[in-house]
């Protein structure tokens, strides 16, 4: 087990290096650099060549790519991820300031969305073709086909513009948390319910469930100890990356509700050609997803005794 985990961690480090090289090459090859155009409104002006040269020198962008990469990695290994071109703030400060906000938002949405979604899915599976199942289906389909930015804008129009119950966005006081959290959670409820229902329906038809019922087990025990436990395996597969997604935030939710988190920043960083920011955020994503898969794999073994981690003799 320990050996297995160690092996995986070494693998993750390898992946991080590989990804860092790929991203580094990619960001330098997409057309348009950070100093090719003036910022925002004045982009129709070219930056004079001698100033551009100076800026490239200042940020080390005039060096050969491998030198830039080695410098970056050397600094990054010591915890220095550079300074954001766009915000002028050290990346580590930036992440330290924005990530907790995104994490708070993601965790609250999870705390609401996941249990409700699972519960709805289980109930719908146990009572197929009843009003409950239909209700679940309606919610699932609605949230599935409506893009999150539509739901977000609609809720602003209803709750902030028309009813004036909630602020249109921002972050700071608890009433500003309500809308983004709920909009986020609604999407989760739909997704979780759909998935749970499908796995539960499968599990309830399995032979071991029939066996359990034949043994005369109570329905509650059949559903939770046998069916749900088996159904939760695919859920765990889903939850790993989902949790990472939630912890790293959503572009639309954060941009529309003006949440000063990290979720909208990857897209903005690419838009602004903010190289240090792109590198740091994508490495962060890679790391988080790799860890999530590791944890997921370990959890399989805990939930399903048929799966043995690390191989046994």
């Amino acid at each position: 087990m320990a050996r297995y985990v160690l092996g995986r961690i070494v693998g993750i480090i390898g992946v991080l290096f590989f990804v860092s090289i790929m991203i580094f090459i990619m960001i330098h090859f997409i057309p348009g650099g950070p100093f090719d155009a003036m910022p925002t409104e004045s982009e129709h002006r070219a930056i004079p060549e001698h100033i551009r040269q100076k800026l490239m020198e200042k940020y080390g962008l005039d060096k050969p790519l491998y030198v830039q990469y080695l410098r970056y990695m050397w600094a990054a290994l010591r915890g220095d991820f550079g300074i954001s071109f766009r915000y002028g703030e050290p990346i580590s400060d930036f992440v330290g300031r924005t990530w907790p906000i995104t994490a708070q938002l993601g965790l609250s949405a999870m705390a609401i969305g996941i249990p409700i979604g699972i519960l709805m899915g289980v109930v719908a599976a146990l009572r197929p073709n009843t009003w409950l199942d239909y209700l679940t289906n309606v919610i699932v389909i609605t949230t599935f086909v409506t893009p999150v930015f539509v739901i977000a804008i609609m809720s602003i129009i209803i709750f902030a513009v028309q009813l004036r119950w909630l602020p249109s966005g921002g972050w700071g006081e608890p009433k500003q948390w309500i809308m983004p959290t709920l909009v986020y959670a609604i999407g989760l409820i739909g997704g979780m319910a759909r998935f749970t229902r499908a796995s539960m329906v499968d599990a309830l038809q399995a032979e071991y469930v029939r066996t359990a019922r034949a043994k005369g087990l109570q329905e509650r025990a059949v559903v939770f100890r046998h069916a749900f436990r088996a159904a939760s395996l695919p859920l765990i597969t889903l939850l790993g990356p989902l949790v990472v997604n939630l912890l790293l935030g959503s572009f639309f939710i954060e941009a529309i509700f003006r949440v000063p988190g990290i979720g909208s920043q990857t897209t903005l960083a690419i838009y602004n050609r903010d190289y240090p920011m792109i590198m740091a955020l994508i490495l962060l994503w890679t790391f988080a997803i790799a860890i999530a898969y590791l944890v997921t794999d370990l959890l399989y073994g805990v939930v399903d005794p048929r799966i043995r981690i690390g191989g046994t003799k």
Binding site: L126, I156, I178, L182, Y271
Partner: protein, 563 residues
């Protein structure tokens, strides 16, 4: 069987409770004790009119993207409303006239090249340090200092030796910025520039020398080390959320603070629902809307009352890369110019949110003569003539004309592009595919001459026709098309240093006519904009006809919140 009923009920109850929790009680109508008819004086020392709301309501909130820092001279277009943090030498009023601000007076030398400014002598930074001519001289020199690598430095290249100093070719002493005494300094330009007041007052802000010298570049990252010389100072910068400005206790100038707070709410660069924020009452004004939002605003009984409508200082045109075929052929370009039905575009497709253009200067811009029939005739809608020109160019009915992508930038004008490609297909038989690409890609590829045709826009940096004509034939400009013309260059070089007059406008109009005649660009439209201010924001400084004015720097100087 009924085992699930309880959990479901609990769940339902929970959802209801959560929903009810969202129903924050609406704030009770303010039941402040009726104030006696006492006159109300703002912290900035202004006696507010009788209908002013109490001091705690004198807060003005606007929205803007996050700036990098408070160094206004390196932060020109990058957020942080600098009119709140700095006082310029002079301010342009709603009618386009200049009013003294940090300078009590100024004069232009005989030869028109030197501007001498006499500063207000009791001016102080918001930390109590006096503002002197040395601060101003230091700031202008720093703006062009090669070590600063200021991306905006080109804006002051027309100072004497401005470019040379910025390139490190001459000493700072050679720069056309001179200290005369503690409260007097002068700026000298290479050639007379009649609109120079606009350029320097839009872009020049003094930096607090004492702070820069003590803290280096970091001075501008922290409100504590970034004092202001204007009516408001920076009180707080809550990154990602807002910047709060409060009255500068040391301000003694002409435009004392009326508000107790000005707040810039920080919005992301894309996707922020500004109009909804405004409607929800989370911002009080300064919201510019165009396109579909504008249609919605005009149709709304309340919003339309709060809207100040104007034609934007922006020209939208078809960029045509003239370095290679097919747009190196004037006949092709002219055909395109006659094939775009601008009236249908603005009235039907864009539902009145733009006005048709046949020349490059926006409506009401200085020297604009868009009604000139000759100008209109160069690019009027005439599908027969267009088809005819196309045939002459060797592409009858569009035969043999290459298929191309019509680029737009970041969704801006994508609908216009769809309509235009339809018109060109119908009238000329050519096939363009509109495609939207992101900003950095667009700018880089256009500068590298990789784009053939794009629906492009130009916005004014300052209010002078030179800003719209100077760059067309300049190979260093991002939107250079490959076209140069001696006659054109002569016209604009002659006009630039002249004092504003009908004669100068004649020259600019000739230049504008060349751009239309030879279809260097196919000029399509000028967007219309509404800027919204809530009806409780009173005392706006407007033009005589109640509009916002072209570059009105005094708009909010006497504004206050009413009950």
């Amino acid at each position: 069987m009924n085992r699930w009923r309880l959990p479901i009920l609990v769940l339902a109850a929970l959802i209801l409770v959560t929903a009810a929790g969202c129903v924050a009680p609406t704030a009770p109508a303010s039941e402040m004790p009726e104030e006696e008819m006492m006159e109300q004086v703002s912290s900035g020392g202004v006696t507010l009119p009788e209908d002013a709301a109490p001091a705690d309501k004198q807060v003005f909130r606007s929205a803007g993207i996050e700036g990098k820092h408070f160094d206004t001279m390196r932060n020109e277009y990058e957020g942080f409303a600098f009119e709140a943090t700095i006082e310029q030498l002079a301010k342009m009023g709603p009618e386009g006239d200049w009013h003294p601000a940090a300078a009590d007076s100024w004069e232009q030398s005989e030869d028109g090249r030197t501007w001498t400014f006499h500063l207000r002598q009791d001016a102080m930074w918001s930390d109590g340090t006096p503002v002197t001519a040395e601060d101003w001289v230091y700031s202008f020199r720093r703006y062009l200092d090669p070590e600063m690598s200021n991306v905006y430095a080109w804006f002051l290249f027309d100072l004497e030796n401005g470019e040379a100093y910025n390139k490190g070719e001459v000493d700072v002493e050679e720069l056309g910025v001179k200290l005369i005494d503690d409260y007097t300094f002068s700026l000298t330009t290479k050639v007379p520039i009649p609109y120079y007041m606009f350029k320097i007052n839009w872009h020049a802000a003094p930096v607090p020398r004492h702070m820069v010298e003590e803290h280096g570049e970091d001075w501008a990252n922290d409100p504590a080390t970034a004092p202001s010389n204007g009516p408001y100072r920076i009180a707080e910068w809550n990154r990602g959320q807002n910047v709060i400005f409060t009255p500068n206790p040391y301000y003694t100038g002409r435009y004392p603070a009326t508000f107790e707070q000005k707040i810039q709410v920080i919005i992301p660069e894309v996707a922020a629902p500004l109009l909804q924020m405004y409607q929800a009452g989370d911002i009080d004004g300064g919201v510019g809307v165009t396109g579909d939002d504008l249609v919605q605003v005009l149709a709304d009984p309340q919003l339309s009352k709060e809207a100040y409508i104007s034609v934007m200082n922006r020209g939208v045109y078809l960029y045509l890369n003239q370095r290679t075929a097919p747009f190196d052929d004037i006949l092709v370009r002219q055909a395109l110019g006659h094939a775009v039905d601008r009236t249908a575009l603005c009235d039907n497709v864009m539902r009145g949110t733009c006005i048709p253009a046949h020349g490059f200067l926006p409506k009401d811009f200085p020297c604009e003569r868009n009604d000139d029939p000759e100008l209109i005739a160069y690019q009027n809608y005439d599908p027969e003539k267009a088809a005819d020109l196309m045939a002459q160019a060797g592409y009858p009915g569009g035969e043999g004309f290459p298929e191309m992508v019509l680029y737009t930038k970041e969704g801006e004008f994508i609908r216009e592009a769809e309509a235009i490609q339809r018109m060109l297909a119908d009238n000329l038989g050519i096939k363009l595919t509109p495609q939207n690409i992101e900003r950095a890609d667009y700018v880089a590829r256009m500068a590298n001459a990789e784009l053939k045709i794009a629906l492009n826009r130009w916005g004014a940096d300052f209010i002078d026709p030179s800003n719209f004509v100077d760059w067309w034939d300049d190979p260093a400009a991002s939107y250079f098309t490959g076209w140069t013309d001696e006659e054109y260059r002569n016209l604009i070089d002659t006009a630039r240093p002249m004092q504003m007059s009908a004669e100068r406008c004649d020259l600019y109009h000739e230049a504008i006519k060349i751009l239309s005649r030879d279809a260097i660009g196919v000029f399509v439209m000028n967007p219309v904009q509404a800027v919204l201010y809530k009806d409780y924001v009173s005392g706006l400084t407007l033009t005589d006809d109640g509009t916002l004015g072209v570059y009105n720097m005094m708009l909010l100087d006497s504004a206050y919140i009413t009950e």
